[in-house]
C-alpha cells in the first residue's frame, strides 16, 4: 500500500511515467517479503523457547531424573535432525523457527542438568557455555530477528560475566565498553561483507547501548560522591574516544561530523558526572538536552524521520520535567510550565525551519509536514 501511494505521488509530480510506476509496483508485489508471517513465526518460535525454559523450572517431580535427561536429549536430537533437513531443503521460515527453538532448547537443557544434579556454579558459566556452543549454528541465521536474539544472548552473557570484576573502578571498563565493542564488530563484518543481519543487530544494539547508557549516566549528576579520577577511567575514556574515531572513519563524509560528534559528546557527557563528583542536579537536565539535541540533528543528517521525531518528543518532555523538578510553589511551577511549553514550541519551530532551509530542492525532507510551499 505504501509503495503504491508513493508511486502515485511521483507520477502526479511528473517524476515517473505511468508505465514505469506500474512496472515498479508489479516488481515489488512479486518480491514482497512476508514480513508479518516472518514476525509471527519468530514470535511463535521465541514463545516455544521461553515455554521450554518455564517447563524446566516446573521441576517435574513425577518423572525420574534419568528419564527427564533422556527425554531432553531425545528432543535435542529431533530438533537437530529437523533443523538439518530444513537447512538442506532450504525451507527458510521453518529453518529460522527451528534455529530459535534449538537455541532456546540448549539453555533450557543446561538449566535442567544443573537442576537435576544441583550444580551450583555461577550463572555466567552456564550462559558462556551456552553461547559458545550455539554460536556456530546461530551464525546460520538469515533473519534480523534471529540475529538480534543471538547478539542479545551474548550481551546478557557479557553482563553476567561482569560479576567476575570486583574492583569498583574496573566495573566501568566493562559496561561502557560493550556497546563500542559491538559497533567495532559490526564494522569488521561490514568490511568482510558478510553476515549482514548480524552486522545490523550488532549496530542496532550497540547504538541503543550508547544512547541509553549516555542518557542514563545523566542520572549520576544527582548522586553525591567523590570524583572518580583514576588511571583505569582515564584509560577507558581515551580508548572509547579512539573507538569513536575509528567507527566514524569510513562513513560517508556528510555523516562524519554528525555521527563522530555525537559519539564524542555521548562519551564526554557520560564521564562528566564522575569527573565532577556528581551532586549538580541542573547538569542532569542540561546533559540530557545536549545529548538529545545532537540526536535530533543526527536524525536530520541521516534522514531518519523517526529518530528526529523521537528526539524532539523526548526533548519536549524533558523540558517539562525540568520545571517540575526545579520549581516548588504553584505559581512558580505554573510560570515555569508556561515558559517551558513556549520553549518547546519555539524549539520545534526552529528545527522545522532549519530542516526546510537545509533540504535540497526546497522540499521538506524526511516527510516533515510544514504546510508551506517552498516553490
Amino acid at each position: 500500500m505504501r509503495i503504491e501511494k508513493k508511486l502515485h505521488e511521483w507520477v502526479e509530480a511528473g517524476l515517473l511515467t505511468g508505465e514505469s510506476a506500474a512496472a515498479i509496483g508489479a516488481y515489488e508485489q512479486t518480491h514482497k517479503r512476508p514480513t508479518f508471517l516472518l514476525a509471527f513465526a519468530g514470535l511463535g518460535a521465541l514463545a516455544v523457547a521461553i515455554g521450554i525454559v518455564s517447563i524446566v523450572a516446573a521441576n517435574w517431580e513425577k518423572i525420574s531424573p534419568h528419564a527427564k535427561l533422556g527425554a531432553d536429549l531425545f528432543v535435542g536430537i529431533v530438533l537437530a535432525v529437523a533443523l538439518y533437513i530444513a537447512d538442506r531443503k532450504n525451507r527458510g521460515m521453518a529453518r529460522e523457527a527451528l534455529l530459535v527453538i534449538f537455541w532456546g532448547y540448549v539453555i533450557a537443557s543446561v538449566s535442567l542438568i544443573a537442576q537435576v544434579y544441583n550444580l551450583a556454579t555461577e550463572p555466567y558459566r552456564g550462559l558462556l557455555a551456552w553461547m559458545l556452543v550455539t554460536t556456530p549454528v546461530m551464525l546460520l541465521a538469515r533473519t534480523r530477528f534471529t540475529a538480534f536474539l543471538f547478539v542479545s544472548g551474548w550481551v546478557g552473557t557479557f553482563i553476567a560475566m561482569a560479576e567476575l570484576v570486583d574492583d569498583y573502578d574496573a566495573e566501568f571498563l566493562v559496561y561502557p565498553s560493550l556497546p563500542f565493542l559491538l559497533l567495532l564488530l559490526g564494522k569488521w563484518l561490514a568490511h568482510l561483507r558478510r553476515h549482514d543481519n548480524l552486522r545490523w543487530a550488532l549496530e542496532v544494539i550497540g547504538w541503543a547501548g550508547i544512547v541509553g547508557g549516555a542518557t542514563a549516566m545523566q542520572q549520576a549528576w544527582y548522586a553525591s560522591g567523590r570524583p572518580l579520577i583514576s588511571e583505569s577511567l582515564s584509560g577507558l575514556f581515551s580508548t572509547l574516544l579512539l573507538t569513536a574515531v575509528f567507527v566514524t572513519v569510513g562513513l560517508p563524509r556528510e555523516y562524519r561530523v554528525a555521527v563522530g560528534g555525537f559519539l564524542v559528546t555521548a562519551i564526554a557527557l557520560a564521564f562528566a558526572p564522575f569527573l565532577a563528583g556528581g551532586d549538580v542536579d541542573l547538569f542532569a537536565a542540561f546533559g540530557f538536552l545536549i545529548l538529545w539535541s545532537w540526536i535530533a540533528w543526527l536524525g536530520h543528517s541521516l534522514s531518519k524521520a523517526w529518530l528526529y521525531n523521537l528526539a524532539i518528543g523526548l526533548l519536549a518532555l524533558r523540558i517539562l520535567i525540568i520545571y517540575f523538578e526545579v520549581f516548588g510553589s504553584l505559581l512558580s511551577t505554573g510560570i515555569g510550565l508556561v515558559i517551558g511549553g513556549l520553549l518547546t514550541l519555539v524549539l520545534g519551530w526552529l528545527f522545522s525551519r532549519w530542516s526546510i532551509r537545509s533540504s535540497t530542492g526546497g522540499s521538506a525532507p524526511m516527510g516533515l509536514e510544514t504546510g508551506e510551499s517552498d516553490a
Binding site: N59, L83, V110, I113, A120
Partner: protein, 178 residues
C-alpha cells in the same frame, strides 16, 4: 559427506556434545566419589529460571583451631571422619597442597571467621514442599549428603530432612502416621 553438509552436522552436534559431557561428568563424580553427610542451616528466596529450591549454608563442625590458608586461591576444608560414618566430620581450613593428611578435602574459599564457601548453597525441591523443608532446616533438622571427587570438588547428592531423603520426608508429611 560433502564439506558443507559435514560442517552443518558438526555445528548441530556441538551443543548436544556439551550436554552429553555435562551429564557424563556429573554421573562419574556421583559414582566414583566418597559420600559425606554435612549439617546445614538457613534458607532464602527462589530463582524463576532454576525452578524451586531451598537455599542453605553448611553448618561446619569446626575443630578447636579452625586453621587458615596461606594461599587463598588454593584453599580447602579438611574433613576428619571421627566416628567412622562420614557424618558431621570435624573440619579445619588448610592449603589444598596439605590435604593428603585429611580423610577428604573440598575446595572453596574463606568467607568469614566461621564460614567456608564450597559452592553448595541450594537444592531443588518440589514447590509445595519448599516452605516446610525450609522451616525444618531453620529448626536444625537439615543435612546434605555430598560426594567429593578426586579433584576435591563436592557435588550435592541428597537433601536430608529429619534424617530422611526429602522426598521420603515429604511423603511422611503428606500422610502422617496416626
Amino acid at each position: 559427506m560433502k564439506p558443507k553438509t559435514k560442517a552443518l552436522a558438526l555445528r548441530l552436534l556441538l551443543p548436544l556434545l556439551l550436554l552429553g559431557y555435562m551429564i557424563a561428568d556429573a554421573e562419574v563424580d556421583l559414582r566414583q566419589g566418597e559420600t559425606w553427610e554435612l549439617k546445614i542451616m538457613g534458607g532464602d528466596p527462589r530463582d524463576l529460571l532454576r525452578g524451586h529450591y531451598v537455599r542453605f549454608t553448611i553448618d561446619w563442625n569446626w575443630a578447636d583451631d579452625p586453621g587458615t590458608c596461606d594461599d587463598y586461591a588454593n584453599c580447602c576444608v579438611c574433613l576428619h571422619d571421627e566416628h567412622g560414618d562420614r557424618t558431621n566430620p570435624r573440619v579445619e581450613r588448610l592449603d589444598c597442597s596439605l590435604a593428603h593428611t585429611c580423610d577428604a578435602a573440598i575446595r572453596g574459599r574463606i568467607t568469614s571467621e566461621t564460614t567456608f564457601d564450597v559452592g553448595l548453597d541450594r537444592y531443588y525441591v518440589a514447590e509445595q514442599l519448599a516452605l516446610p523443608i525450609e522451616r525444618r532446616i531453620l529448626e536444625g533438622h537439615g543435612a546434605v549428603s555430598v560426594v567429593v571427587n578426586k579433584n576435591r570438588n563436592a557435588l550435592l547428592k541428597e537433601l536430608l530432612v529429619d534424617g530422611q531423603p526429602w522426598r521420603d520426608w515429604g511423603m511422611t508429611e503428606k500422610n502422617p502416621r496416626p
